[in-house]
Symmetry: C2
């Protein structure tokens, strides 16, 4: 039996095990869920031991634990791959928009629906299953493998950086492999070579010292909700251009080659409009959608809250208002610089009569990956052989801050080999993962390890 | 024993009974509280029977019940007064800002703290206690009294108008007496002669069909939170002037006399700033604070909500956003006309890529009361004798829609004799009522009835 035959034979069990993994509500942002996050780490560690990883640790941090495993008996000269993924998941709000409960996974139309299905538990799990198959069929792994699976990716990995810096020897490797990105389209294998950075801010506006009756005070006291709306309205102009002073200073203009490459990906505005059901797209003037989505920086309000939001009418002039605002950054913007510029700008546009506080919640610098490493060439070949079609290089709009960290500490090439799809609702209700990519991903990964063993890095 | 001596003697019991009344959570906006609202109506009816009202009814409506009572044995030629108040209360959010639970009334520094203390249970209750004292000491009321106490004032009195129209005979009277307003300042008796109207709107903005990952979609898809903030920012200009087209068309300019009268009230911007703890006041350019507060129309966002508002960071491009916006209206603006203008204007400024829906939640026209009725003269005299100081006429920023209704249906003068204070947190946490006004109010009311009996109306 070949490894691929083993993978085919055990599809049903792999899906059942994934469902078990997905049913643990490992929401890292939610302090009350930390017992579940810990339980998820333990489940994962047990599972890794079960598939034949000889060394598995659940490493405590000041936050949620890191799961680490390694098998380094591939023999002399064999390269070492460090796999990175995360077992924590996004919050589930708005919960009422889920078709099924987010932690009661359901399989429909060959997709598994659950929070974390595509981001990132499903992707993590296919790597573990590829290892299981290689060990079961071939008795060994073609390369040394280290697995680093954290529980704090969705809150900005606060404890991963110190861990990686303090354990550079333990994590020493020849290439990093990350599966936390999306394929450009179904059936279209792709490798992300650029990730946007992130500056995530929270604005709090304090007006009067208490909620006031809008009839008795309205007209004389500045309303913090009106004030915050005014601030937000000045963050971008009507052409979608960010107005934070100096925001574009370090942004490199797109080269003609990049614009041509992006255009060649065959992105369709019509398909995007139909996917999200809007009549018109909107973004920075002068750029195509595909450029705006990955190659240009953006700004979005992620949430706002203030005053009375229940059913009916309450005539209140609220005491305070809050907004969360994040900016996606591109090379060579730096998140701390952008955060500082944002704070200065927001303070400069604050209307009279309110106190405005701006916090830098977390940030990540943008990343450009070397497309010409040997590890990258092997990855392209593995994907093309497995999928039977040409692999594309893409830019991803999201951030994976650890990629920059690995580059700085481990000094090895990183390959972003993702098996998700962009419309799998990664951060929204009814998140799901296409099981055909779950299964083909295992084959691509096992092929990648074999190719790496042959070609070296 | 005089009636006033009786009132002095029973202060402690009156306060205990008020605490009992206040401990019933009669929140009319909250569908889940309707059993409590009904319980409050029953409690009130029982209490009215107890003080000697011979005819008491709890009248069901399609919403919350109306409590009605009357005692019409004052003798031939005696005038009839219809008292109006409400036993329903505002919601309690934000609940965490209350010092004590809103329905566990606490007396501190001669003030009673509870939701509904000043708006309007405390004021309603002092009228009942005045009646109790008159009946206990004098064995009769000087005038015929009808009490109409509704349970839906805080939701716009949807069922009161049909009731009043269908029961004009039952409610026939010579004057209406309302206690749901504030005194201009402690120790300063005042009668409100102008009430602002209200147009209360809700804006819902729909962007994409689901919450999206802001990294994967941000930049190409219009964000409904940014869009709603832009809409809100265009509702007023930087000088506090409402930008809704035609908003000021029917507003009468303030006369020099009115401006002089308002200025003479001795409003202090410094005191207002200290009261609400803001460094600067803000309102429509060209008007003083006291003019903005009662004599000019205003616009306030009462609440907004969208996206992720929990702790930490979630990189979501939300599907939708909501804001509640209300406008206070002055003579001769009409709420339905303003609502229509608001809807047209908001639709006209909606950014591309989102669907904007605007709902008219409820409205009330502004009111100007005749200051020269006999009922008004008696009220002024009763207040001046009881408080020992001159009574002022004031404009109130809030709305009491039923005042207009009584005028239209009953064709009699209305007196707005309020005993609240503006800083008693009517719609916010730690609502309270000054017990000295609770007690002196009873004396003023009993004196008013005697004066009305002497002078007629």
């Amino acid at each position: 039996m070949t490894t691929n035959e083993y993978l085919d034979q055990h599809r049903g069990r792999f899906e059942s095990e994934l469902v078990e993994f997905l049913s643990i509500p490992s929401i890292s942002t939610d302090a009350s869920a930390s017992a579940d996050v810990a339980r998820c780490a333990d489940w994962l560690a047990d599972h890794l031991r079960g598939v034949g990883m000889p060394h598995v640790e659940v490493i405590p941090t000041e936050g949620h634990p890191i799961v680490y495993a390694e098998r380094c008996d591939a023999g002399q000269g064999a390269p070492t791959v460090l796999f990175y993924g995360h077992y924590d998941v996004q919050p589930v709000d708005p919960i009422d928009l889920w078709t099924d409960p987010p932690f009661s996974p359901v399989i429909r139309d060959a997709k598994v629906y659950a929070r974390g299905a595509t981001d990132d538990k499903g992707q993590v799990f296919l790597h573990i299953k590829a290892i299981e198959a290689l060990l079961a069929v071939e008795g060994r792994l073609p390369v040394n493998v280290k697995l680093l699976i954290e529980g704090e990716e969705e809150i900005g990995s606060p404890n991963l950086a110190p861990f990686v810096r303090q354990n550079a020897d333990k994590l020493a490797c020849d290439a990093v492999l990350v599966s936390d990105t999306s394929m450009f389209a179904p059936g279209q294998p792709s490798i992300v070579y650029s990730l946007r950075g992130l500056a995530y801010m929270e604005i709090n506006v304090q007006g009067p010292n208490r909620d006031l009756h809008s009839g008795s005070y309205g007209g004389a006291v500045q309303n913090p909700l009106n004030a915050l709306a005014t601030i937000i309205s000045k963050l971008k102009d009507e052409y979608g251009r960010v107005q934070v002073e100096g925001f574009y200073d370090d942004v490199q203009p797109l080269t003609d080659l990049e614009r041509t490459e992006l255009a060649a990906l065959g992105h369709s505005d019509e398909r995007l409009k139909a996917d999200v059901n809007v009549s018109t797209l909107f973004g920075e003037d002068g750029y195509s959608s595909i450029e705006r989505l990955g190659a240009r920086p953006t700004l979005d309000v992620n949430g706002f809250l203030g005053g009375f939001t229940g059913e009916g009418a309450k005539t209140v002039l609220p005491a305070r208002a809050m907004a969360k605002v994040s900016m996606r950054l591109v090379p060579h913007q730096r998140h701390d610089d952008i955060a500082n510029k944002f704070i200065s700008y927001v303070k400069s546009i604050a209307p009279p009569g309110v106190t405005v506080d701006v916090q830098d919640l977390h940030g990540a610098d943008p990343v450009l990956v070397n497309r010409n490493s040997a590890a990258m060439h092997a990855a392209v070949q593995a994907l093309e052989e497995t999928f039977g079609t040409k692999c594309r290089f893409t830019r991803e709009g999201g951030s994976i801050p650890v990629v920059l960290l690995f580059d700085q500490v481990l000094h090895v090439p990183t390959v972003l080999m993702g098996f998700g799809l962009n419309n799998e609702n990664a951060h929204s209700p009814d998140e799901h993962f296409d099981l055909s990519n779950f299964h083909i991903g295992m084959k691509a990964v096992s092929r990648y390890y074999h190719l790496l063993a042959q070609t070296g890095v």
